[in-house]
């Protein structure tokens, strides 16, 4: 199996605090990887390190994507090359029209891939179709980006972006938190639709429920800044029953 994204001995800090402490993880092409782990273990920090968030300072180790170390790359370069993070808490951007924003992003990516840009009408047709698939209110298309969106609406908007941007690596940081049952189903269906045997997923979650919809190939346990255990889907049950304490830190 070829590895799409490989994280080697990654150390990272936020401010003065060491959060990731020599983390190793490899995402395989076309597979769904899930990460579970206690609050504060460093799951969001890992996802931010992968996309180049300004708060996270990588002090050691490598993130290899498409054969090159991307640790020094700008966030937009990583995104254009196909890495997508659905944020745990998407920010609100008042005054930036949701459709306008997404079209700019989609066309930037298309241009990067050497594809023709979409005009406003083509783009909106596609966006509207996905909006209705995800059960979003059509009015959200023309609102300001995430402004005043409910928790669930923000999460669906992240999935909408993911579906339009068609990334190669999709990181979902607690996409399931704050979603009602219908939303969870709609979002999961959206994600499943994006599985094409090539695209890889990293699903960060606290709940096994979403993993009933999106079947993971691997489960990783992240504790205190390291992956302490990797197993198959059967691990979910064990975690549910025993919690994280039985998984020792390395």
């Amino acid at each position: 199996m070829s590895k799409v994204l490989e994280i080697k001995e990654l150390k990272a800090k936020i401010g003065d605090k060491n959060i990731l402490k020599g983390l190793n993880l490899a995402l395989e092409e076309g597979k769904v990887h899930a990460i579970m782990g206690p609050n504060g273990a460093g799951k969001s920090t890992l996802s931010k390190a992968i996309v180049g968030h300004y708060n996270v300072e990588v002090t050691d180790g490598e993130i290899i994507y498409n054969g090159k170390n991307i640790v020094e790359e700008e966030p937009e370069e990583r995104a254009l090359d196909g890495i997508f993070l659905s944020f745990q808490n998407p920010v609100e951007v008042p005054g930036v029209n949701n459709a306008y924003f997404l079209r700019t992003a989609v066309n930037a990516r298309r241009k990067h891939l050497g594809l023709p840009e979409l005009n406003a009408a083509e783009f909106l047709r596609e966006m509207k179709a996905l909006v209705s698939e995800l059960g979003m209110k059509p009015e959200l298309i023309n609102r300001s980006l995430n402004e005043g969106f409910s928790g669930g609406e923000k999460k669906r908007n992240e999935i909408l972006q993911m579906m339009m941007l068609e990334p190669n690596v999709v990181i979902l940081d607690e996409i399931d938190s704050g979603l009602d049952i219908d939303a969870l189903r709609a979002v999961s269906e959206g994600i499943n639709k994006m599985k094409d045997g090539k695209r890889s997923f990293l699903v960060i979650t606290h709940y096994s429920r979403i993993l009933d919809y999106i079947k993971p190939d691997y489960i990783h346990v992240l504790k205190d800044g390291q992956i302490v255990h990797t197993g198959g889907p059967e691990l979910v049950e064990q975690l549910e029953e025993e919690g994280y304490s039985s998984f020792e830190e390395k």
Binding site: E74, P75, V93, A108, L124
Partner: protein, 415 residues
């Protein structure tokens, strides 16, 4: 003519020196008291007034030729009315004007009135919408003129002000006296790009808003050179003003707004919002006072200033002030100055939008709230375009508003 030498004169000599009619003695005594401003004058403390009042100006003659009367636009060139337009419900004429605001705080307001022999008086007796274009072409001159707008009772008017012409190294001293009568409303929209090599404008105005009348001011100033807008507003009983100002200043210019809103009548309301974007070495000015007088019970007054500094050398002189003489009111004011939001910037970049484009989007978003106060969509788009041209040179940004347009199209062709 040097303006500062007028400070040696008493009010009678001022009338004589400036060849003003005695009907303007109010202005003469006010100027004798307030004086032509200098660098110590409080209201001019953030601005470079000195060079303007010490220079020996050639005062531009104002031609009194018969104006054309065609189209929906009133055109004023170097202070002369050249087209009075053909607008239903509007009369436009030159007239001696003496209903001067004796309480105004600005010496130049009075000086401007004393120097102007006649004012361009626009009377609105029916609901209407029109444009006033100011053209400045005379170089190295002092161009002074006054415009008066009277909105009759129960009449609803929109006026849009635009500017053109270079008038290198001139000093434009002008402004409005605007009267919004009982139960009337005026939407006044100003959009002005001032280039580096152009004139220095000081627009010094007064607005009188009568009972139950409504004034909505939206000003858009995109400036690469010094300039000042001076505003005094009186609100009578249950009168309302909604003022929104967008300021973009660059190129080490000093530009801004000095205002006083005076609540005179009961239950009057005011809201004033300024957003400023300051680039390389620029100074933005928002020196704004709201005064609530004894007579103005149950008023509401809200004032807010937000500024974004794009460069470390930029500076915002933001002074929102409330001066209140009663208890029975609702009032607030606030002021913030900061940079673009890092989290928002990152979010956009994490979707593949390059940093310069992301910054651009956020700056337009910041401006959006003020542009959105213009409900005339055509004008709002025009103002957006003007802002983009000022900010990015000729760099064209893809449609923002068109998204709604296309959305409608798409909906339509699918039905």
């Amino acid at each position: 003519m040097k303006l500062d030498i007028l400070n040696a004169l008493d009010s009678d000599s001022l009338l004589k020196e400036l060849k003003s009619s005695s009907s303007k003695s109010v202005a003469a005594s006010a100027l004798a008291k307030l004086k032509v401003p200098n660098k110590k004058t409080e209201k001019y403390r953030y601005f470079d007034i000195e060079p303007l009042v010490t220079k020996d100006w050639q005062v531009a003659d104002i031609a009194e030729a018969e104006p054309r009367s065609e189209g929906k636009k009133i055109v004023i060139q170097d202070g002369a009315l050249v087209n009075s337009g053909d607008i239903e419900g509007l009369s436009v004429e030159l007239a001696e004007f003496s209903d001067i605001d004796s309480e105004h705080f600005d010496g130049l307001y009075f000086l401007s009135h004393l120097m102007a022999k006649k004012a361009i008086v626009i009377r609105c007796s029916k609901d209407s919408s029109f444009e006033i274009e100011h053209i400045f072409s005379k170089e190295e001159s002092l161009i002074n003129y006054r415009v008066v707008i009277l909105v009759d009772a129960n009449t609803h008017v929109q006026a849009y002000e635009s500017f053109s012409g270079d008038a290198k190294e001139s000093f434009v001293l002008s402004g409005y006296d605007i009267f919004v009568s009982r139960d009337a409303s005026l939407k006044f929209i100003k959009s002005h790009t001032l280039k580096q090599t152009q004139y220095t404008p000081i627009f010094t105005s007064r607005y009188k808003v009568d009972s139950n009348a409504n004034l909505k001011l939206s000003s858009f100033d995109f400036s690469f050179a010094n300039g000042l807008n001076i505003i005094r507003v009186e609100l009578k009983e249950s009168a309302n003003i909604d003022a929104s100002h967008l300021l973009y200043v660059s190129n080490s210019a000093k530009y801004g707004i000095v205002s006083e809103i005076v609540h005179e009548g009961k239950s009057s309301t005011s809201s004033q919002k300024a957003k400023s974007i300051l680039d390389s070495g620029a100074r933005g000015i928002f020196d704004a006072l709201i005064r609530v007088q004894h007579s103005a019970k149950w008023t509401k007054a809200h004032q807010n200033s937000k500024a974004i500094l794009l460069e470390s050398g930029a500076y915002m002189a933001s002074k929102p002030q409330l001066e209140i003489y009663i208890d029975d009111l609702e009032a607030s004011h606030g002021s913030t100055t900061g940079q673009l939001d890092e989290q928002q910037l990152f979010y956009l970049r994490s979707r593949g939008i390059k940093e310069s484009d992301a910054r651009k989007m956020l700056i337009l978003a910041f401006a959006h709230e003020i542009v959105a106060t213009v409900d005339d969509e055509y004008l709002a788009n025009k103002i957006y375009a003007e802002f983009e041209r000022a900010y990015y040179g000729n760099y064209e940004l893809d449609c923002i508003k068109t998204c709604d347009g296309c959305e409608e199209l798409v909906l339509k062709d699918e039905q």
